[in-house]
């Protein structure tokens, strides 16, 4: 067997079973809905800003363990970060899963901390989109709001 434990690490299974910050956030400043039409994973991400930082981040959704654990761990990882830091983390995370760069990957893995448990997903190309769904949704939520600001403010 290829090492399935590399994909389904305990921490991923734990977040899947008991997702953190799993709730709607009616007072959110940003929110976006993401879905993966190929496999039906859905995630809605809510962000409430605290000054320039991401104050509270929650999500709701349904789908495979990878998609739900990724969303859950994302909400923990980006809380308190500035917008720029959150965007930087998001690109590092996506790079970790999609790019073949042994040197840079180590650097990214260090910066990603706990999120590096998703590095095993790279061996399963069909599942990469499951892991990145929440992060794409986060970007859409943050971008959408800035777009709104630029037209209305």
């Amino acid at each position: 067997m290829s090492d399935l434990r590399e994909l389904y690490q305990e921490v991923i299974l734990d977040h899947n079973k008991s997702p953190r910050n799993f709730r709607e956030l009616p007072e959110a400043d940003h929110h976006a809905h993401g879905d993966n039409p190929l496999c039906g994973d859905i995630v809605t991400v809510y962000v409430k800003m605290d000054g320039d930082a991401l104050g509270e981040v929650t999500f709701q959704g349904s789908g495979c363990a990878i998609s739900q654990a990724s969303a859950s761990m994302m909400t923990e990882a980006i809380r308190g970060k500035s917008l720029a830091e959150a965007r930087e983390l998001s690109s590092r995370f996506r790079r970790l899963l999609t790019e073949d760069r042994p040197d840079g990957a180590t650097q990214d893995a260090e910066a990603l901390g706990k999120l590096a448990v998703f590095s095993g997903v790279k061996e399963y190309p069909m599942r990469v989109k499951c892991a990145t769904l929440a992060w794409h949704t986060l970007s859409a939520a943050l971008d959408h709001d800035s777009a709104t600001v630029s037209t209305e403010g």
């Binding site: 067997m1 290829s2 994909l7 389904y8 079973k17 496999c39 495979c64 599942r127």
Partner: protein
């Protein structure tokens, strides 16, 4: 066919019975001697089965998506490439004649297999293109605003979306007939929809077998109902042709579509059968070479069906493979094959239903060897990945049948679908892998 001869008895419908199969998995041959349906010998014909995946012997249970190919099919395609490569219907040289003979011979093989006339067989890329052709060229010219096309809740997207497209253009509506909790079509609701729609109903489109949950629809009864209201019927036979003998004339429908690749043949080739009078009434969907009688800048006249619908150089090698696949099936004892697959499905249902936390989706009494299920606490995609790590290939997802999934209240299912080469040992490997997934997830 010599390779397969050892695997099969001659076709002996009378000799085959489920009772024999359940006992010794044997059947009566023509000479009265019991000849086993030798699944191991059949497996020898499929090179793709003999490989390891993640260190485990491949257990291929994704046959409703596509089947593995027997040597006869692989060799037929290779033979065409190596000896007969040429274009069809033009050129007077020997190779062109051989290519044309291959192509038109395949048309006759399809016709013989389904009990129809060769001139009523249109080669397409597959079921999807076949249904699109009916939607575009038969239904669309007949649609007016307010008209209807009736489908069922169980249909594959290929038997929903083409109708939606043409209905959308014409201001017409696609109506779906409900199914019950088992996945059985509500015939009363169908009769009611036909009654209510009256002359506005331009087509009834139904799958022969549901790819998502395995229900075998009572097509003959459905056709009777529709025809009583003057409504033509298109049958999506993609899941039926590989798994049961299909007598299109007996079904009484107006169009019947299927794909080669689900019936042990190549991808990119399939066929549409249509009643001659329907085909003659239909304009071409595509223009190009081969589909014309004469071309000038003042106007072009089209060829007769089926050529009218086969513009451009077709998938000639695909037809060689398709014919080889149908011949392969024809060389088997179809009753024994069907009984074998039914026994596999019954075994899988029994094994999976016995696992706490596993729920079957679709429990129609008339079903093919397609078993859809969900596991508490584990998403279907995770089930699929964990099973794959043990060499067990299943499909996880909505199976291109999102309305059916919604009807059953699930986003996705895991689906094991069986073919003639699957074994009872593989059913057990499936069940063991599902239990392993539960252990892993602590579900």
């Amino acid at each position: 066919m010599s390779r397969t001869a050892k695997a099969v008895s001659t076709r002996s419908w009378e000799g085959a019975s489920l009772a024999h199969l359940e006992g010794g998995r044997g059947i009566e041959g023509e000479g009265g001697d019991p000849i086993a349906f030798d699944v191991e010998a059949v497996r020898e014909e499929f090179p793709g089965l003999h490989q390891e995946v993640h260190g485990h012997p491949l257990v291929y249970l994704d046959n409703a998506a596509t089947t593995q190919k027997p040597r006869a099919v692989i060799e037929a395609v290779t033979r065409f490439y190596e000896h007969d490569t040429s274009n069809i219907h033009r050129g007077v040289h020997t190779l062109a004649e051989r290519a044309t003979a291959t192509y038109e011979g395949a048309r006759r093989t399809v016709a013989r297999t389904l009990g129809i006339e060769p001139r009523e067989v249109v080669f397409t890329r597959g079921t999807t293109e076949a249904i699109n052709l009916v939607a575009r060229s038969f239904v669309r010219p007949r649609l007016s605003p307010g008209d209807e096309v009736i489908v069922t809740w169980l249909e594959h997207h290929a038997n929903i979306v083409p109708w939606q497209i043409v209905c959308g253009e014409a201001g017409a509506t696609v109506r779906a007939v409900p199914i019950d909790d088992r996945g059985v079509l509500d015939l009363d609701a169908l009769a009611e929809a036909l009654e209510r729609g009256g002359k506005r109903v331009r087509m009834l489109a139904v799958g022969h077998i549901s790819n998502a949950v395995g229900t075998v629809h009572p097509v003959r009864r459905i056709v009777e109902l529709a025809h009583a209201h003057g409504v033509p019927v298109t049958v999506d036979g993609a899941q039926a042709v590989p798994h049961m003998p299909v007598d299109v004339a007996a079904l009484g429908c107006d169009f019947y579509a299927f794909s080669g690749h689900k019936a042990y043949g190549p991808s990119g080739i399939g066929a549409l059968w249509g009643r001659a009078e329907h085909l003659e009434s239909m304009p071409p969907m595509q223009g190009g070479g081969d589909m014309i009688r004469s071309v000038s800048f003042d106007g072009t006249t089209f060829a007769d069906p089926p050529t009218r619908f086969e513009a451009g150089t077709p998938n000639i090698e695909g037809t060689a493979g398709l014919a080889a696949a149908l011949d392969f099936l024809d060389g088997l004892d179809r009753a024994a094959v069907q009984a074998h697959e039914e026994a596999l499905a019954a075994h899988a249902v029994e094994e999976l239903a016995a696992i706490p936390g596993v729920h079957l989706v679709g429990t129609a009494p008339e079903r093919a060897a397609i078993v859809s299920f969900v596991v508490d606490g584990i998403h279907a995609h995770d089930v699929g990945t964990i099973l794959d790590a043990r060499g067990v290939a299943i499909r996880a997802g909505h199976h291109c049948a999102q309305p059916a999934m919604r009807r059953f209240g699930v986003a996705a299912t895991a689906r094991a679908s069986f073919a003639l080469y699957n074994t009872h040992h593989e059913v057990e490997a499936l069940a063991a892998a599902v239990r392993h997934a539960q252990e892993m997830f602590g579900a």
